[in-house]
Each structure stands twice: as structure tokens, then as C-alpha cells.
Amino acid sequence: MRNYFLLSFFLLFYLNAHLQTYTISGFIEDETTGEKLIGANVYNEKSFKGTITNYYGFYSLTLPAGKILFTISYVGYAKYQQEIDLTKDLTLNIKLTPSLELQEVTVKSNSIRMNVESTQMSSINVPIETAKAMPMLLGESDILKTIQLMPGVQSGNEGTSGLYVRGGGPDQNLFLLDGVPVYNASHLFGFFSVFNADAIQSVQLIKGGYPARYGGRLSSVVDIRLKEGNNKKFKGEGSIGIISSKLTLEGPVKNEKTSFLISGRRTYIDVLTQPIIKLIDNNLSAGYYFYDLNAKINHKFNEKSRLFLSAYMGNDKAYTKFKSEYLYDEIKHESSEKAGLGWGNITTALRWNYIINKKLFSNTTVTYSRYKFSINNAYTEKSIAANNTQTSEYSFEYFSGIDDIAAKIDFDYSPNPNHAVKFGISNTYHTFKPGINVFQIKGNAESENIDTTFGNTNVYANELESYFEDDIKIGSLLKINIGVHYSNFAVKNVFYNSIQPRISSRFVITEDMSLKASFTQMNQNLHLLTNSTIGLPTDLWVPATDKIKPMIAYQYAIGAIYNIKDEIAVTLEGFYKTMDNLIEYKEGASFFSSKNDWEQQIENGRGWSYGGELLIQKDVGKFTGWIGYTLSWNYRQFDNIGFGEKFPYKFDRRHDIGIVISYKLSERIDMGATWVFGTGNAITLAQEKYVSYFSLFDQNDFFNYGGQTYYDNLEHYDNRNGYRMPSYHRLDLGINIHKKRYWGETTWSFGLYNAYNRQNPFYLYFGYRNNYYDGLGNNQRVLKQVSLFPLIPSVRLNFKF
């Protein structure tokens, strides 16, 4: 009997492989802009065998000879269909028409149906246009804050754009901007992300069931692709807001073969506050700003060969400058002091797409990225006498950062509709700069001069990665994506090799419903050292070393997706994730404070999380949006922290809800509302206090207050993260009013952040009821909550031409 099955299987496989087949391949693009469409569904509607376009809009579909109904669908575009009698290989470059210009009924797409078909689970394509229209803090649209509203993703502290995915930390997300990792993805101390929505074509969030092509982080991949630039005509869009303005320009350079895109954004808090600061002190200048710039140019050599060059540059800078001068004893004294704090990323990518043959697509990329953080302080003093001028200068700079140079080549191979193979190899050379100090003194005499550099030495590491994955269709019901990701990390003469299996599968129950399951292993060779409970630019990226092992996560997930009338997708998933070799500083340790190597200041531990997620999403029609709900548990355990007992992760949230609604009232007006709810963050609160030894026995360490001796108290904590802050919830409302102009279109966006003025907790501290201590113990000691954002209205003018 067993032999019979084996023989049947073999024959089926053999026959399947030797049916006469032909390949249709080509690019799918937007008819009006020429932008390539990523993830468009390409299939034969008669057999529902199909594929999706890759990140460059390319597809390759091999089908048996005969008549097919060649179909292309993509959310927001009219479905394309063509009867084809397949008797030879074909190249079809298709242009899809945006649905805005079409009747409502044509907008329905088969994307949900294709999601039912896909093996990929735990993945969300973030709707960019919805994200841009949503009400946001100060009217600044933000892709990462949109992602925070999805199930399985938790936000950190109020207003910040950090992502905590399925129990992971903010350092466990791989942010890829056109394939280049971005290390610090936030501006303004975490309040805004570095990604400018106007320049973005697509965003995909993957929080589990990772395909083998991704690696290097434990908890999520946020794959962001920039627009290529309109290759039909010159276009522009921009906006003017309360704290920033932005402008994006794009257009063709030459005969639809070359196009460009450039997009910039800058805040002007510094410009607005400068007159006020001058009023306070004319000698003082202080401010803060950030800017970012995206640029991309692409050139099509021919139908087989395209070249892309993209770059991102963003910086944050806070500064103060102070000048003074006075005359004394006929000598004029001048002094100036300036201090600054800055951080920023640069990423560049040069990419070459080449179609080797109709079934094999290649993408070769060379990238460079840099993250730098610096603090500087400089002081100059001049003494100007009648016949003599003397100058002395002092300067100090501390900087840290990470530089990456990488090269990689990826292949997409589509031998037949039952296989979609991807494989590739990459190499990244990391330079970690974990803190360098430059100290200079320049005096009048040569002997007084100091010019020295000290601090931690650079650490160099090489990361070689390769992968292979195949999306295999087995019969009409079962499809499996199976792959392996290999990583070799070399640092300080130590080599870490890991072979990470990835498997995800779907089983079709009905035409509108499928079950999915996945198992993945992810390794992360980089660690983020931080003492803070919020992400700050001072946090340091360091590599795994001979003493600190790479982090490893195993994730199991099961789920189901249900399609309601091709309009609403209902996704239900459950997951269990373990994370090993997590690091934390020893209690009270910090990177800078010890004479010992930082590696000796680290505690190793583990974490685990589990939960369920529900997403109900509607992307088409007048009424769009989603409801996301997460029920999860998230723990950490370190042998030497909290007596080795498990404790809740600080962003362990039992319940997390995000509801986003957008309604198009008319062609001129659309409205949006967002409501979020989250169980309060876990925090460590003291239960007891007691007197300090030094306060008792050092006469200068206590003092007399209102007739009572006041001693310094120490606090005792029973459990780490044993308390919960009050729950977080907030409603944001927005309305967009569009108006056609002869030159284009304007949109006024009005928003209300925290519409019902909820006082959400930012942090808690112990104080006294009326903010003072009377020394007699009469005033009541209480726990106080500090909130950050009350109701904040915003207005923004957007324009397009």
C-alpha cells in the first residue's frame, strides 16, 4: 500500500512537471504615474493559480497551455482581465487604472481572497493613504504610529513611535528603507518617526511567520519602499503644519526611462521660539529642529534592466549658544559657549534589477548606512587689550554610532505555479562606535594645548547571510512556504553560525476561509544597551561578542482568515514566542559609569510572550478602517534581577485595542476617528522606605526642617514591574476638506488629538499632596501621575499639483 502511494505521488509530480507550460512575465504599474505596484495579484481566474508582483512590480507566472482568464487586481485599482490562449511565452507589462476615477462598484478587489490563498500570516500591508488621512498628534502623519494601532503591536510611552511587537523590545524590529536597515527610526526623542509618508509607496509589517529572506531581528520586519517617481509628468505635493512643513517633487527626466523623486521635511519650532528666547536674554540662542530628506532616481536601460539610486538623510539637533562681553581695566573680555546634541541616519542604496530570463529575476544591491549620536560643548574666551589679544578655547565632543556597508544579491525564480522560489546572499560589514570622546584645549602657550581622544574602541563585525525559500502548492488545499536563513556573524575572532528554519502553511477550508500555521526561528546579533524605559538617542547599539551571545527567538503561530464579500477581512491569530539571551544592564550599571568592560555589566535572561489577535479590516468603499484587538501576556526572567523570579515586561498589556474609522462623506469631505485603549504599563513602585546609613551618621546629610530632623530615605521594591499604571485610552478626530484648484488640489486637515481630554499616565512619582513637606509629617504623602498631552487641536494645509 505504501508503495502504491509513493508511486502515485511520483507520477502526479512527474506529470505535473512535464505538462506543456508557458510563462507570462512583466511589470505592473500605475497608469498615471508609472509607479510599479508591489504585491499586485496576478492570476488565472479560471484556476485561481497565480502569484504576486515583487518589490519592483515584476511578476512571472507559468501556466499550462490553453485558454486562461489573465487577471490582475490591486487595492485601489480597477481589476484588469484579458482572455489569453496560452500557446507561447509572453511578456505583458500592464498599466492599472486608479479606482478614484472609477465607479464604486469596480473598486472591489480580490486582495482579501489572495490573502486567503497566501501562506504568509501575521503580516499587514499598511494602507498609506489611510495613514496620511488619519488624525495624528499635531497633524503629523506617521507610519509607525499607524502600525501601533494594529493588533500584536504595542506602543511604548505616550506619544512615542517605538514598536513593541508580540512581546519584543523596540530594538527587535528590522526597519528596512528600500532594503537598508535604519537603526534609530525616530525624531524628536521618539515622538515622530523618520519616515515621511509622502515619499513612501508601500509598508509591510511582518510580526510572525517570517519568510526566509528576512533576518537579523527577533520580533518584526517593517519593510518600507519609497516611491520611484512619476515617469509620466512632473508632480508635487506638500503640506504646511503647526510644527513642520514638507514638500515632495517627482517627475520624468527622460522619455519615461528615467524618473526622480525628492522629498523633504523640516520642523520650525526653533524658528518660532527664537524671538521669545531673545526677549528673555538677548545673548542666548537655543532651539531644536529635525529634518529629513528622501531622494530617489531610477533609470530603465531596457525592459530587462533597471537601476535605482536612493538615499535618505535625517538629523535631529538641539543646541544652545551664549555670548557675553564686558570691559574691565581697559581690557575687553569676550566669551562664547555653545552646546549641542544631535543624532541622525544616512542610508543609501544602489540597486540593479535584471531579468535573467522570464522565470528568473535578480536584484543586486550595494548599501551604506550610518547612525551617529553626538554631544558637544565648546567654550571660547578672548581678552583684547590695546596691544595684545589672547585667546583660549576648550571643546569636548562625545559621539557614538554604527556604520554598515553591505552588498547583496537576491533572486526570484518561478518555475511553475506550484513553486515560487527566492534565494540570495548578503554580506554586511558593521563598524560599531560605542562611545568616543574628543577633548581639546587651545591656549596661548603651546605647552597648555591638549588634543586627545579617548573612550571605547571601535568594534568591527562581519555578517554573512544567505537564504532559500520556496512557496509550494500541494494540491488545491495546502500550500507551504518552507525556507532556511543562514547567518554567520564574526566578531572579535568569534564566529556565530545559525541555521534558522522558517515554515508557514495555509490550508483552504472554503473559498473564503483558510487556516494558517507557522514556525520560525530568528536570530539577532545586535543588542541595544539602554538604561532608560523610553527610547533615547543615547541608547547604544553593540554587537554580540564572545561573552554576549546573539539573541534567539522561536515563534509558533496559528490563525485563520475569513473573507466577507470580498470587502472585509477577518483575521484571528494566536502566537507563542520565546526569546533567549536577552540582555539588561545589571541593576544600576550603565555603559559609561564603570571601569570594567561593558560586557561585565550585563545580565543575561529570557523572555516569553503569548496571546491572541483579532483584526477586522475593510480597505474598500466609502467606509474604511479596521478594528484590532490583542490579548497577550509578556514576561522576562533574569537570574540576577528580582531574585531570579519572572516579572512582567514593562509593556506587557493584557488588552490592547485600536479602532480606526474613515468615512468619505463626499468628494470634498472625508472624516476619520481613532480610538485606542491599552492596559496600563507595568512599573516598579516602592512599598516601603527606610533611613539611609549616610544620612544618620553624616551630619551634613540630614537637615533640620521646621523643627524636625529630616533624614534621607531609601525605598524598597518588592517586585519588578509589579504595579500597573492606570489604563490608557484616547480618541482622535479629524476631518479633511478637499478642493480642486486649476493647478491641482488643496486639502485642509483639522484634527483633535485626545478629543475627550483624557489624562493618560506618562509617569508616576511619590510626592506630597500640596507639593511641600511641612517637616512635621502632617502633609499627606501621595502618588502622583504626570500626563503629557491634553486635548490638542491641529490644522494642516496639504496641496498637490
Partner: protein, 317 residues
């Protein structure tokens, strides 16, 4: 120093962030904090120069408006090498003293404190050996620019001594001054001598420092981790302005060998206070070696060397 700079910057960052949005508000929160049983707090640091004294108090609920509750009715038993010696006598404000016992190097002292219904607290310490070798102090005077035309004098002292081999040693260094001032007694037409002794502030950026104690005046602690059995050397700086106009100054350089318990208490104490003032860092628990209680019961031995400054009147150049 870098840590302090960065902590400062973190605060600047957060302050700026708050100011940018400028609308933060505050409210009192009612939260259920379990009122566990209170514990005995023992604070005692024994040394071979003094009779044993410890302070006994009680922990308080974190929301208690009182600052301290001394346990003057406690029963405090003292043991030497596990043999009961005496009950310590209350001297008010929670202080319990021995009238006879001065600690001896190498001996183990145990304390047992009980009071009413509170769980009995225990702790013990072994008095460390004294530093055998001599302390060497080399001094040099530097001129520190205040501006282009004036500078003041700073006394740079290089302190060195030999670390006892084959053992883990922990140190506490601080500086004390004995001032000798001659005051003219106009009624009796003669000089009278006034002595005053105090801990002195000093500065140091020496990488040997693991943690300052409370402030520069109380010195710093360090371990011999990087100098096992070798000569330990560090540099401190004193502003000579503090001696201006004082007739005679005797500076005592106190190198104390401390128990590991006290070393851990000192470094966690400092970090605890830093973290307590920053709501965005994880709290740091202060080390304690008191079983069933809080505080510290530890010991040290002192080795001291001195230098003398006479008629220092030459501050500005």
C-alpha cells in the same frame, strides 16, 4: 563623569520634549499599595577605633508622611565569634551603644535585633585586617585658569599604597582636615588655639572610582579588581582656596579597608538615589545584609597618613 553628563542630557531631552508640548499636567492617584508588615532597619559600621554603635529604626509605608521611626525600645544583642557578649544600651534617637566593646581585626560580630511583633533581624560582619604597608602621598600645585589674568592654586595629590595579595579587597577613601587656628585673645593678650576637624571636599576623575559616597566630602569606594596584589595609585585634587587664611592645616588621607557588604551598599546607595530622581530609569534596590530587615551592618579598618599646610595665604596669582 560621562555618565553624569549623559544623565544630564537625558533630562534636558525630556525637559525639552515636555516643554515643546508644554502642556503636561499632574494629578494625585489613588493606588492600592499593600501595607506589608514593617521591618527592622539596622545601620551600623564598626571600626577598631570606636566602641560599637548601631542605629535601629523601622521601615515605613511608602505613603507614610513621617520621615523616620526610631525603635528606642528594641532589644539589641551583640555576639562575638558566635558568643553572646552584651545587650547594647539605648542612647536615644535609635542609637544603641556598647560601653565596653571595641571591635578587633579578624573577629566576627553578630547583631540580633527584636522589637515587639516585628520579625527579629540578624546580621554579622567580620572586621577586615588593617592595611600593612605605608600610604605614600605626592603633592604638586597646579594653577587653574579662572580667566586670562587670574588663576588659582589646586593641590594635586597622588595617593599610593600596596594592595594586600591573595584576597579581594574593597576600599573607602576620604579626606579629613584638622584646622589649627590661632585666635588673639584681646582680654588676656595672648593667642588661643582652636582646632576644628571636618571631612573635606575634593575632586577626582580617576578611573579607579567605582562610586562616590553621597557627595565628594564623603569620599569614594573602589575595589582592587584591576590591581590584585599590586600598588594602587590614584589622584585627587583640592582647591587650595579652602585653606586660605587658615594658620595650620593637617590633611588626613584615610584609606579604609571595608567589607564587601559595605562596598555593595555604598555603590547601590549612590545608584539608587540617581535612579530615584529619574522616572525613566529602572529603580535600583539598595544592597542589604540584614536578614529579615533593611540597612547595613558592616565594618572597616582605617589607615591614615597626613600632610601639613602652614600659613597658606597665596591663593590667587
Amino acid at each position: 563623569m560621562q555618565n553624569k553628563v549623559l544623565n544630564k542630557f537625558n533630562f534636558i531631552i525630556l525637559t525639552m520634549a515636555l516643554l515643546q508640548f508644554g502642556t503636561g499636567c499632574e494629578k494625585v492617584l489613588d493606588i492600592d499599595i499593600p501595607d506589608n508588615d514593617r521591618k527592622i532597619v539596622v545601620n551600623g559600621l564598626l571600626n577598631t577605633d570606636s566602641l560599637i554603635t548601631v542605629n535601629i529604626s523601622k521601615s515605613l509605608n511608602i505613603l507614610d508622611s513621617k520621615n523616620i521611626k526610631f525603635l528606642d525600645d528594641a532589644e539589641v544583642k551583640l555576639y562575638r565569634n558566635n558568643v553572646f557578649i552584651e545587650y547594647l544600651t539605648n542612647a536615644g534617637n535609635g542609637n544603641f551603644k556598647s560601653s565596653i566593646t571595641k571591635p578587633v581585626n579578624g573577629e566576627k560580630y553578630k547583631i540580633e535585633v527584636s522589637e515587639g511583633n516585628i520579625q527579629t533581624a540578624f546580621s554579622e560582619t567580620v572586621i577586615p585586617s588593617s592595611l600593612i604597608g605605608e600610604i605614600t602621598i605626592d603633592t604638586t600645585t597646579n594653577y587653574v585658569s579662572e580667566n586670562q589674568f587670574y588663576s588659582h592654586e589646586s593641590l594635586e595629590c597622588t595617593v599610593s599604597f600596596d594592595d594586600p595579595p591573595n584576597e579581594d579587597n574593597y576600599y573607602w577613601f576620604y579626606l579629613t582636615g584638622l584646622y589649627e587656628n590661632f585666635i588673639w585673645d584681646s582680654e588676656n593678650f595672648n593667642d588661643s588655639v582652636v582646632y576644628s576637624r571636618t571631612n573635606l571636599y575634593f575632586e577626582s576623575n580617576d578611573p579607579i572610582i567605582d562610586s562616590w559616597i553621597s557627595s565628594g566630602k564623603n569620599g569614594f569606594v573602589f575595589s582592587d579588581e584591576l590591581f590584585k596584589g599590586k600598588t594602587i595609585k590614584f589622584i585627587i585634587n583640592l582647591d587650595k582656596g579652602m585653606f586660605y587664611g587658615v594658620d595650620t592645616n593637617i590633611l588626613h588621607f584615610n584609606v579604609n579597608i571595608i567589607t564587601k557588604d559595605f562596598y555593595l551598599y555604598a555603590i547601590t546607595h549612590d545608584k539608587h538615589l540617581d535612579a530615584m530622581n529619574n522616572p525613566f530609569t529602572e529603580p535600583v534596590q539598595v544592597y542589604t545584609n540584614i536578614e529579615n530587615g533593611y540597612g547595613i551592618f558592616a565594618s572597616y579598618t582605617t589607615k591614615r597618613d597626613s600632610i601639613m599646610l602652614i600659613d597658606y595665604n597665596n591663593y590667587y596669582k
